[in-house]
Amino acid sequence: MNPILGELTPFVAVLTPAIASLLILISYKNPNIRETWTILATIVTFTLVFSMVPKILDGETMEFVLFEIIPGIEFAFKVDAFGMIFAITSSSLWILVSLYSIGYMRSLEEHAQTRYYFCFAWAIASALGVAFSKNLITLFVFYEILTICTHPLVAHEESEEALAAGRKYLLYLMTSGSFLLAATMITYVLVGSTDFKAGGILSLDSASEIFLQLLFVCYILGFMKAAYMPFHSWLPTAMIAPTPVSALLHAVAVVKAGVFGVVRIICYIYGIELTSSLGLGIMLAAWVSFTVIVANMLAIGEDNFKRRLAYSTINQLSFIILGVSLLSPMAIMGAMMHITFHGYMKITLFLCAGAIAVVTGKKLVSELSGVGKQMPVTVFAFTIGAVGMSGLPPVAGFIGKWYICLGAVQSAEIFNQPIFLTFILVVIIASILDIIYLLPIVKSAFFENPKEEIENKEFGRRLYFFMLVPLSITAIFSVILFIFPDIFSLIELAEVAVDEIYE
Amino acid sequence: MIEAIFEKFFQHYNFWAAVVIIFIGIYATIAKNNLFKKLLGLNIFQTGIFLFFISLGDIGSLETLGIGDATPPIIWKPAEERGYLYVNPLPHVLILTGIVVAAATTCVALALLIRIHKEYGTLEEDEIIELEAIRGD
């Protein structure tokens, strides 16, 4: 199968949600038509994205240059295997989350739904833009749009607390945007280009060692969306947003854009060799290992359901970065796949949390006892997600963790530094901590009796089906991805990407 | 020594006068509290500049610099005694324009002052600011 629109496909794929957003805005008077546009756009986008897979698997890349901004910097789209992974994850999950949104927003009779769908579509457009961008400037443009258009979603509730969360969100992410722009410009001035090239564009000829190290720090600060510590606190705060937002944006699109950027920097701007020779890989690995452990510990103490999941997200994001910073083929492959796996599993968890909140009105972990009797399917799906998070078979999360552990061994061999083996320990400790904070929820939901009479909220039940279907699908997929990890050609794509990097 | 300084000073006395007038004008414009006095200061300032410009046109004043001496066209001198035939008229023309502009500025300023006086009953700046603060937005 060839891409539907040839070279134009990536551009159209980005454009589709953007156009849909305008249609959504126009049909604000009729909610049904408005939601139809959303659903249509999700399906079209996913088809477009998926139609490009075969060509990418052949080892080809697709480029579409829109225009040249200044000599050496183009506004251009380029599809490669790694971008494809991110794009597939975002666009496939968008379908499910849109369905879920309809149920969720209508059950709660939320205000400003048009704004919500408008911003949501733009967020997806920019996430796809990030995935398909050819160079850092294009990436930056979409990165900034992503920040701006998710702010209304975070502050959706319009309460003082939500507005404060919105402010904090912008403070962190715009600051990071500034760092990213600065780093991008410095790169441009150094080497006259910002294109992503497997193997990197920077080299020791372009600047002194210390300068490149500082630039790297600048880049990492620029991708603050990855929510590593100590710059993580915006993410739990942002959990005040409606659940679909937390699910898709703050578990997949936004935060993964940050992780995606880090991978791009390490593999495509610095290149593996330069990163390791500057000693950046091990430094970054140490940094994020700290996050992996501490975020989990914080999650244990957190009572708010969604915030606990947010800490889990922080942990997993850093985990992906850890995989990349190990700099061995296996680890990078694991990290790339884990982007998708984590997306599916985390979304399951969030959707369950949202469904429980809508139906029972419970938002705290301590209140959840006995919910499983009321909503068995939901809690069962939650169990699948939780098992996956902890890296246990038979859920997809195991594969990612397994690859990264293998990668750590491989790195120790390649670089001849046994210290890399300690990161296996980090992975194991993190998994144990995952179990500690996630599985008790399942236990209390299924096996404990409710402390008080369960109040059955009728309005929630009415559209419960809309929510139940997406979360069941994601849960099922989390398992399927373990059994057939190649269902979206994931492994193949990751292999192609890694081959490219290590060519 | 002192004589030399004096000589230098008095050779360019018109420029010095312009400088003094300009500074008096600026001082008044900035330091005075009364809005009308500010306007007067502005006018003095402008006058100083006009004097400066016209002094430029008077080539005779440059005589001591060895450039030569100039004669306004109305005073007749034998040809061999003439340095420059006439005073450079261009600065005068410029200053004529400048005066018109200055007159226009003054006029607008006066009209404004009348309105301000009508509005606040005073032209003292600090009193006006107080009144504004009392009124609010």
Binding site: I70, P152, I186 | F45, A111
Partner: protein, 498 residues
């Protein structure tokens, strides 16, 4: 003698402008309604002429126009090159939109019997600004600048009340400024004996060491700096912008401000040259730092404001600081491009913001940020325009403001000035901080009523058009098509890169 009709256009724009201004005065005796349409038609006509002018300049080279057939350096010469033509278009275009916007707004804010005078002065203002832009004679620049300034004083004062003192302050400071300028060109005239810019540039080349030239330079710089509201000399500006009638604020913030910024650029680069700055004005190195301070201080001041117009006024100071920062790195092509680009970008974005605020004031009378709550439901289009203009001023890609930031960032890096890059980026965040307050009020707070009440079409249309332009221009700059033009403009300023 003239070769093609197009070469007449620059002069025609200025002279017919003045001519029509006084026609309005006569016709205003007969009918008050007709005044507006005359201004509108004349300015639209001038705008079309300016487009032809630009086209001519781009294809056939610069225009030299000698008034009365007198050759320079005796006569007054109008010179139009890329930079002039570009500025002329910016000024006339925003003037045109401002006039379209003015109709209803002015009808509400100003007594009817003052309308003919108002439009006369408005027309004079625009003609004066056009004159400043096309003239090639430093003294003529002074006269036309005074025409524009005097009109501005009068237009501000028309609002009455606090505007009177604001206007008077502006008048005093503006007059001091123009006197400094006059004194400065007096010094230059004393050493060169010419008033023509091109002539002066040539003669000055041998006189760079002369102390008179240095003094003249500083005086000219300070004079035009006050007029353009460059940071430490900006004190008149917030009051004037705040208390003037909405339409006047719109025109001042776009047309007048950009005119004097243009004059500053023209004088610095075309009369004094980059060589002069580099070799003899050591203090020039301080200008970027001063502008850095300006960006931060003015942003903080803007954050402290409650009045939304005043907030936008301080934001203008920040943007002028961006422009001056751009021209202070005269060795970097990108930095200068950033300055030139921001002339248009800021004019469009700030014009849109002031138009939207004007519309809000027109409909609701709200002037404070705190009272804006829930306005997005009440006036969705106006609020949308305000939102877009603010995002542009913050510099979100792909809006026009981003391009400014982008070019300036490259410029700073080319000059190896990393701290200045940090300040520019910090400026972005500070801008976000103060505009976020407005955006939150507009979109995330409950208002009293959700009744939809939009302003009349004649006010809404320019606002929306400018909002669309904010994005369109940003994308246009980003396409890289205008790079050639920017390069030409910089060369026409007389900057040569090594």
């Amino acid at each position: 003698m003239i070769n093609t009709v197009v070469e007449q256009f620059p002069a025609l724009i200025v002279t017919t402008g003045v001519f029509s201004a006084f026609t309005i005065l006569i016709l205003g005796l007969l009918s008050r309604k007709i005044c507006y349409y005359i201004v509108l038609i004349v300015t639209a006509f001038h705008f079309i002429l300016s487009i032809f002018t630009l086209q001519h300049v781009l294809t056939k080279g610069r225009i030299h126009y000698w008034f009365g057939g007198w050759r320079p350096p005796w006569g007054i010469e109008y010179v139009v090159d890329e930079l002039n033509a570009y500025s002329l278009i910016v000024i006339l275009f925003l003037g045109l939109l401002g006039i379209i916007f003015a109709k209803r707004s002015v009808e509400k804010e100003i007594e009817e019997r003052k309308l003919p005078t108002f439009y006369t002065v408005m027309q004079l203002l625009i003609s004066g600004c056009c004159g400043v832009v096309v003239t090639g004679d430093v003294f003529n620049l002074f006269v036309l600048a005074e025409v524009a300034s005097l009109s501005t004083y009068a237009l501000i004062a028309i609002a009455g009340g606090k505007a009177l003192r604001a206007s008077y302050n502006y008048l005093i400071l503006g007059s001091i400024a123009i006197c400094f300028y006059l004194l400065g060109i007096g010094f230059l005239y004393a050493v060169t004996g010419t008033l023509n810019m091109i002539d002066m540039r040539i003669i000055l080349q041998n006189l760079y060491e002369n102390k008179m030239v240095h003094v003249g330079f500083v005086l000219v710089l300070v004079g035009l700096g006050i007029k353009a509201a460059v940071f430490p000399l900006h004190t008149w500006q917030p009051d004037a912008y705040t208390y003037a009638p909405s339409a006047v604020t719109l025109i001042m913030s776009t047309v007048v401000a950009k005119t004097f910024v243009y004059a500053l650029i023209r004088l610095i680069f075309s009369v004094f040259t980059v060589n002069f700055l580099e070799l003899y004005i050591n203090a020039w190195n301080l200008v970027p730092w001063l502008m850095g301070v300006a960006i931060i201080v003015a942003s903080i001041l803007a954050y402290r404001q409650n009045n939304i117009k005043r907030m936008l006024a301080y934001s203008s100071i920040v943007n002028v600081a961006y422009i001056v920062l751009g021209i202070s790195f005269f060795n970097s092509q990108w930095s200068l491009s950033g300055a030139l680009v921001n002339i248009l970008n800021h004019a469009v974005a700030k014009g849109c913001a002031f138009a939207a605020v004007g519309a809000i004031v027109y409909k609701t009378g709200i002037k404070d940020v705190g009272a804006l709550a829930g306005l997005a439901n009440k006036m969705p289009y106006t609020s949308g325009a305000l939102l877009i203009s603010m995002l542009t001023l913050i510099g979100i890609p792909p809006s026009a403001g981003f391009v400014t930031k982008f070019y300036l960032a490259i410029g700073c890096l080319e000059m190896q000035n990393y701290l200045m890059l940090a300040i520019i980026l910090l400026g972005t965040l500070l801008t976000l901080a103060y505009f976020l307050r407005v955006i939150e009020q507009l979109y995330f707070r409950e208002g009293n009523s959700t009744q939809k009440e939009e302003v009349p079409f004649s006010m809404l249309a320019p606002t929306m058009f400018l909002a669309i332009l904010c994005l369109a221009i940003g994308i246009f700059w980003l396409t890289g098509i205008p790079l050639e033009f920017l390069k030409k403009s910089i060369t026409s300023m007389g900057v040569i890169f090594r």
